[in-house]
């Protein structure tokens, strides 16, 4: 049937009835029928409404059905009641099925489309559990989201410890623990695994197993925990993949195992192609995609936005960075009025304060904040995690009308929109991953509401030139490999990845030093003591690290020596003897940032310090001073200031990476007048996160630890602590292990009487804390 027929059909009742008939016997598994229902609801709302309550029953969305008004609804509400009686929850049939299999089996692997209500199922599992739970997710963004939700869920129950890393703390007051981690953090589990009581491992978005290195790490973690805790349940979940059983097969989890492929829809989608702001309806399910494109005669997207709808634009990072998204989508951006909601403004202010942007126009002016003030947010991987959390909160509370996002959003963040617009058709990875990411992304189109008897649907916009490719991708299935990468050769891997893959395969990873045994061996054998001594000499004054400014004040020769020392230490854990120019340049930029970090500077302070350096604040001050002394006219001053160019700073890249370039975050000879504060925010976060935390921290901390082991030089331990924790203060380290950040520790420290692995004893004064601050500590009180 054609789209025009859904739109103009004289007997649309019969079409709905056919669909109802199919729904009854085969369930809501046909996406094309959901597409038809969306068109019918859109173009025949009155006729459609007569069937809507029946549809909700038949689809099994029992959380939004009302009292039955016909026999079929009676029959389905008996199903709903039986499910509730058997599981104790008002589950949908899919949730109930998964819940039962998790309850009855030791291993369960399933796939289900986005919006199938997985989060609600997990929520109930977490609430009901009596043992410790390990939740493994692929990204730190997902950790944050889980952490936020699980803490909300267990609010008021201080006996459950919820942490984003493995630490057995608060022992005296804890009855059970929930750890939400990435596979990489999983290493920390093994040293304490037997002191815990783990009953459930929840591997969410388990398709991470398909990634080369991370997949090996993931599979290795799964095998190791299964060996140690064979009776703990292991649950694997995926977005829609064809063969969730692969996850069990590859590890030989046969006994007491089950799998399920749920391809049940809950919301419908209408697809639009776009060219020069003209839209046409098309169906990716049509036999021949060239056959029908129907003009959209109304200002569809504008109307959705005007009616409180929301738009997600999947866009390239470069378009966000160079600001061209603002021009490309100006028409829609103009429709967004200034936000007046107080809570929304508070979130914006919190974000502004966090990144240290100025309130009015000025050199620390943030376009990101400007946009947010009219309900437009950007979301990408270089956005500081805390900023992303604020933005996600902003979106979840429905303050955002338009979200411009890169692939970070497809990593499983739970935010649906009325319209998903795919502006960037580039997806990473192999064909399987590309398909999965695309499906995951369009899965976000259509907000599943709680409105009773309401069928929900959303729109997907594909740029005209990509329609054919899109339809192809939609038709292709995604499947998981049935053998683990652990069991395949690593010969073809790039040199830099061989250590880690060997260590994962051979189980030769050192949990204390967070390096592989071969890397530790290289570090131990390397002739780097003189470099370590030089750093200890020049970096510590009275056992406290020097400031970033002190570092900049060093003469060029000393600074080069410091850089070289770090480079030598860092390089000695690698398989190679030299860094490329790009790698060396990234390392060089990271050193002052590392220094600021270990001095406990907040994020905005670090950004601000970089800002001062890059915009040559000293030179600017000199010009101002000359102006004040009337040595130059204001016009001259302005000209002189304009002529100052932004200092070069290499773009952050994880190390090692032989393809790293020396390209700067701004083009050469850019005037400081054209400084983009947001770019600096993103780059600084990338340095702190991708370079320092993920690339440098472990090998450097290990080098100083090994030096201490050898020499018992206390300074080495001090510096190791600074690098590893950002502090050498025992109290602060304990608080970090309890999951607090430095921003919190700053004000919290004075209220702590005692802290160890058993508990935190707070002073009486905590009663004076503001409600927001108290909320942050109450789970330990």
């Amino acid at each position: 049937m054609k789209i025009t027929e859904y739109i103009n059909h004289p007997e649309i009742d019969n079409v709905i009835k056919d669909i109802i008939d199919n729904l009854h016997s085969t369930g809501p598994t046909n996406s094309q029928e959901f597409e038809k229902l969306s068109y019918i609801k859109k173009f025949h709302p009155q006729t459609f409404s007569m069937y809507e309550s029946k549809l909700m029953h038949l689809i099994g969305l029992f959380y939004k059905t009302t009292k039955p008004s016909n026999i079929i609804e009676e029959v389905y509400s008996i199903f709903a009641d039986t499910i509730q009686a058997e599981t104790g929850h008002r589950f949908t049939p899919v949730q109930a099925s998964a819940f039962q299999k998790i309850t009855n089996k030791n291993y369960f692997s399933f796939s289900a489309p986005t919006s199938s209500g997985k989060s609600y199922l997990f929520r109930e599992l977490i609430l009901k559990a009596e043992t410790d739970i390990i939740i493994v997710v692929p990204s730190r963004a997902l950790i944050s989201e889980y952490l936020f939700r699980v803490r909300e869920l267990l609010k008021g129950d201080n006996s459950v410890l919820v942490l984003q890393f493995i630490e057995n703390v608060n022992i005296n007051r804890t009855s059970r623990r929930i750890y939400i981690i990435t596979p990489e953090r999983g290493e920390d589990l093994f040293s304490i695994i037997h002191s815990l009581n783990i009953g459930l491992f929840l591997f969410d978005e388990a398709q991470i197993s398909e990634e080369r290195i991370r997949g090996m790490r993931f599979d290795s973690f799964v095998r190791r925990v299964d060996k140690l805790l064979p009776n703990a349940k292991k649950v694997f979940t995926h977005p829609f993949v064809q063969n969730p059983e692969a996850q069990l097969k590859k590890h030989g989890f046969v006994n007491n195992s089950d799998f399920a492929r749920y391809n049940h829809n809950s919301v419908g989608k209408i697809f639009l192609s776009e060219k020069n702001n003209t839209f046409k309806y098309f169906s990716p399910y049509a036999e021949n995609i060239d056959n029908e494109q129907v003009f959209v005669e109304v200002e569809l997207i504008e109307n959705i936005l005007k009616n409180n709808g929301t738009l997600l634009v999947y866009i390239s990072k470069s378009k966000i960075y160079d600001g061209s998204y603002i021009l490309d989508f100006a028409k829609y951006i103009e429709l967004c009025p200034k936000i007046e909601n107080i809570e929304a403004i508070e979130i914006i202010n919190e974000l502004r304060d966090f990144i240290g942007a100025s309130e009015r126009a000025g050199e620390k002016h943030s376009y990101m904040i400007d946009m947010m003030e009219i309900g437009i947010v950007v979301h990408h991987g270089s956005m500081p995690l805390f900023a992303r959390l604020l933005i996600e909160k902003f979106v979840n509370k429905s303050y955002a009308k338009i979200c411009f996002a890169t692939s970070t959003l497809t990593q499983g963040i739970n935010m649906p929109f009325d319209v998903v617009w795919i502006n960037n058709f580039r997806f990473d990875g192999d064909e399987n991953k590309k398909n999965l990411d695309l499906k995951n992304l369009i899965g976000r189109a259509g907000r599943s509401t709680l409105v009773p008897n309401s069928f929900d649907y959303g729109y997907v916009v594909i740029e005209s030139k990509n329609v054919a490719r899109f339809c192809n991708r939609m038709r292709n299935n995604t499947s998981l490999k049935e053998t683990s990468m652990l069991d395949s050769s690593i010969d073809d891997l790039p040199e830099d990845l061989k250590d880690i893959s060997e260590a994962i395969k051979n189980d030769s990873f050192n949990n204390d030093l967070h390096l592989t045994e071969s890397q530790i061996e290289r570090l131990s054998n390397a002739d780097i003591n003189s470099f370590i001594e030089f750093i200890l000499e020049s970096f510590l004054k009275d056992n406290i690290p020097i400031t970033g400014k002190d570092y900049y004040n060093l003469d060029d020769d000393s600074r080069n020596k410091v850089k070289n020392a770090f480079k030598q230490i860092y390089i000695s854990h690698l398989r190679k003897n030299n860094l490329t120019r790009g790698e060396a340049s990234v390392l060089s930029v990271s050193i002052p940032i590392l220094l600021w970090k270990i001095q406990g500077k907040s994020f905005k302070e670090i950004v601000s310090l970089r800002h001062a350096f890059l915009t040559n604040k000293d030179e600017q001050r000199r010009i101002l001073s000359r102006l004040r002394k009337n040595e130059i006219s204001s016009e001259d001053a302005s000209q002189l200031r304009k002529s100052i160019t932004i200092r070069h700073s290499t773009i952050a890249t994880p190390l090692p990476d032989p393809s790293a370039t020396t390209a700067g975050i701004f083009p050469r000879n850019t005037s400081i007048i054209d400084f983009d504060y947001d770019i600096l925010v993103y780059d600084t976060y990338d340095y702190l996160d991708k370079v320092i935390s993920l690339s440098l921290s472990d090998p450097l901390a290990a080098a100083f630890q090994l030096y201490y082991n050898q020499t018992l030089d206390q300074r080495a331990l001090t510096l190791r602590n600074y690098i590893k924790y950002g502090t050498n203060d025992e109290l602060e380290i304990w608080l970090l292990r309890y999951g607090f950040g430095f921003e919190e520790i700053d004000w919290l420290k004075q209220y702590i009487e005692y802290v160890d692995e058993n508990e935190i004893i707070f002073s009486q004064q905590i009663t004076n804390l503001s409600p927001t601050k108290f909320e942050l500590i109450e789970r330990y009180v």
Partner: protein, 232 residues
């Protein structure tokens, strides 16, 4: 279910002539509860949720019992709501069809069940049989908690004939009916059944009103007609 009477109507008694036979059948339903059970089971058995295996049959049956009791009570109390009305129509339809099969030697044609699973309220005939004279019968059932909806049923049949709904069923009917019956149907030789609930005691008067209605006259050209009054 109990057949209280089956009579051939002499249309001359009503001052009319008919080309074929007109039957009037008075049925009394005695198995409301088992019918309620039957409809719930027949729908639930075919549901995808049943196939997903998420509910235990026993557990479902126990909960269904409550709904059955509700359906039965509401039918007897003549509750005026959409669920009771639908169940009433089911009772009329099933009883009429069964009385034709069990007492008039008709053969069952499961078209309506298979085609629309009885769940969509499809606008079309409610049931089909093949009579002993190899005629395909097209049945229409109507229920009302407070009136005798024979006219509605008859009008509906006439309306369906005008809309060629019976002819549209041919494509599916050929899988179930005998070749002879199909051939007859193609030639226009078809039978119709108007089944309706009966409220009140004056059965003769109710049938008389039905037979004398203007609409019924339009059906008299067909070789077999059945008026089935179902007393609940």
């Amino acid at each position: 279910m109990e057949i209280l009477s089956i009579d051939i109507v002499n249309m001359e008694d009503y001052g009319k002539t008919s080309k074929g036979l007109v039957y009037k059948i008075h049925v009394k339903i005695t198995d409301v509860e088992s019918r309620a059970k039957e409809i719930i089971q027949s729908i639930s058995n075919k549901s995808w949720i049943n196939n997903l295996g998420v509910v235990e049959q026993m557990s479902y049956a126990a909960r269904a019992e409550k709904t059955i009791v509700k359906l039965v009570t509401q039918i007897f109390e003549k509750v005026d709501d959409t669920v009771t009305e639908e169940f009433g129509e089911y009772l009329v339809s099933e009883s009429a069809r069964d009385s034709l099969i069990n007492h008039m030697d008709h053969k069952f044609i499961p078209l309506a069940e298979i085609w629309k699973e009885k769940i969509t309220g499809n606008p079309g005939f409610d049931f089909h049989t093949e009579s002993s004279a190899n005629l395909i019968t097209f049945g229409e059932a109507k229920y009302s908690s407070n009136s005798n909806p024979h006219t509605i049923a008859i009008n509906q049949i006439v309306g369906f004939i005008d809309d060629k709904k019976d002819i549209m069923d041919f494509v599916h009917l050929k899988n179930f009916a005998s070749d002879e019956a199909m051939q007859k149907a193609i030639n226009g030789e078809k039978a119709y059944v108007a089944a309706f609930s009966i409220n009140g005691q004056q059965y003769e008067r109710i049938f008389r009103t039905a037979i004398e209605s203007d609409c019924f006259e339009k059906l008299l050209e067909y070789p077999e007609l059945y008026l089935i009054g179902v007393e609940i």
